[in-house]
């Protein structure tokens, strides 16, 4: 099987999926319901993406899961008080790297 053909076809499926809502609402006129759904969805999707990031964490199997939990709590607390997303991410990532490389090995 030609790997370049596969890449091309996978790309085609992916871009089609991304285009679907724009094809359905082609004229740009979005009904009130869909527009409200569009407003609500980011909040639901974002928390789902957080769950997606930690879906493989298993505290019973491995202590490494504690690193995820602690680092996420650190991120929440720092971001709640400091409100600077870059600072939050930097501190959170460093905390996580230290935890996973030196503490919960």
């Amino acid at each position: 099987m030609n790997v370049y053909l596969v890449i091309f076809l996978v790309a085609l499926v992916t871009i089609t999926l991304r285009y679907i809502p724009f094809l359905i609402f082609k004229d740009g006129k979005v009904s009130k319901e869909i527009s409200k759904l569009g407003e609500d969805l980011p909040m639901a999707i974002m928390i789902l993406l957080v769950i997606y990031c930690i879906k493989d964490v298993n505290i019973i199997k491995s202590y490494q899961g504690f690193a995820d939990i602690i680092a996420i709590l650190v991120v929440i607390i720092i971001h709640y008080y400091k409100k600077n997303i870059l600072f939050t991410i930097l501190v959170g990532t460093v905390v996580y790297m230290v935890l996973i490389q030196y503490i919960f090995i």
Partner: protein, 224 residues
């Protein structure tokens, strides 16, 4: 396109920069260790531009999966992207010539960053939105190229640096929660996520939980 917009877009994309460079490198390394050349890394990151799908594709190719099964898996892995555009239809219709690229480059992280600007002045600025999308993809492609070139020789222990992505999503959730009076969608997301995680397990829960969230939100909005 001016330098002020570029600076703004660059600062906004730094978290994605960290995540994409290193995840991209991981992908690039995977490509060469699976016996493919650097152009496979470049073409995948340029044309497919969907992280988890690219990793899965390498596994499929290694296992000699059939073309049909690869394409069906692509559909399921990336189907969550169908929902992203819903929040951006009206905004992206005002992007003119940039619209096709904006839609093409709508990854999880780009979607997250652009939604986080809603209600702010920068959200109305076409060139900032475009630069965010473009820079993110450049980071991803460059990460893949570096990974393919250096192979498995990384100068320092970068284990855990991909947490930048989790941290980005978590901070956006905190912002959304703080800036919104209606927290219902947040709880809908958590609840459907946990329910579907239990029923469908870690590898398949995302699409069902998205569909469940959409259904609950539609039902609620009908009642309002």
């Amino acid at each position: 396109m001016n330098i002020v917009n570029f600076k703004k877009a660059f600062v906004l994309t730094i978290p994605v920069f960290l995540g994409y460079i290193f995840l991209g490198m991981a992908f690039g390394i995977l490509v060469v260790t699976n016996g493919f050349s650097i152009d496979v890394s470049f073409l995948s990151s340029s044309l497919i531009y969907a992280g988890s799908m690219q990793f899965a594709l390498m596994a499929f190719l290694k296992e000699n999966a059939s073309l049909i099964s690869i394409l069906v898996m692509t559909f399921f892995i990336n189907s969550r992207h169908m929902f992203y555009g819903l929040s951006l239809v009206e905004r992206y219709n005002n992007m003119g010539k940039l619209k096709p690229y904006m839609i093409f480059s709508l990854t999880d992280e780009t979607y997250a960053l652009i939604c986080s600007l809603k209600g702010k002045k920068d959200y109305e600025n076409n060139s900032i939105l475009f630069l965010i999308s473009l820079l993110n993809q450049i980071y991803w492609v460059i990460g893949g190229l570096i990974g393919s070139i250096v192979g498995s020789v990384i100068p320092f222990n970068a284990t855990g640096i991909d947490f930048a992505m989790t941290a980005l999503f978590v901070s956006i959730v905190v912002d959304q929660y703080r800036n919104s009076e209606d927290h219902f969608p947040f709880y809908v997301g958590i609840l459907s996520g946990i329910i579907c995680l239990i029923i469908f397990k870690a590898n398949n829960f995302l699409l069902p939980s998205l569909i469940l969230s959409v259904l609950i939100l539609i039902i609620r909005n009908k009642k309002l």
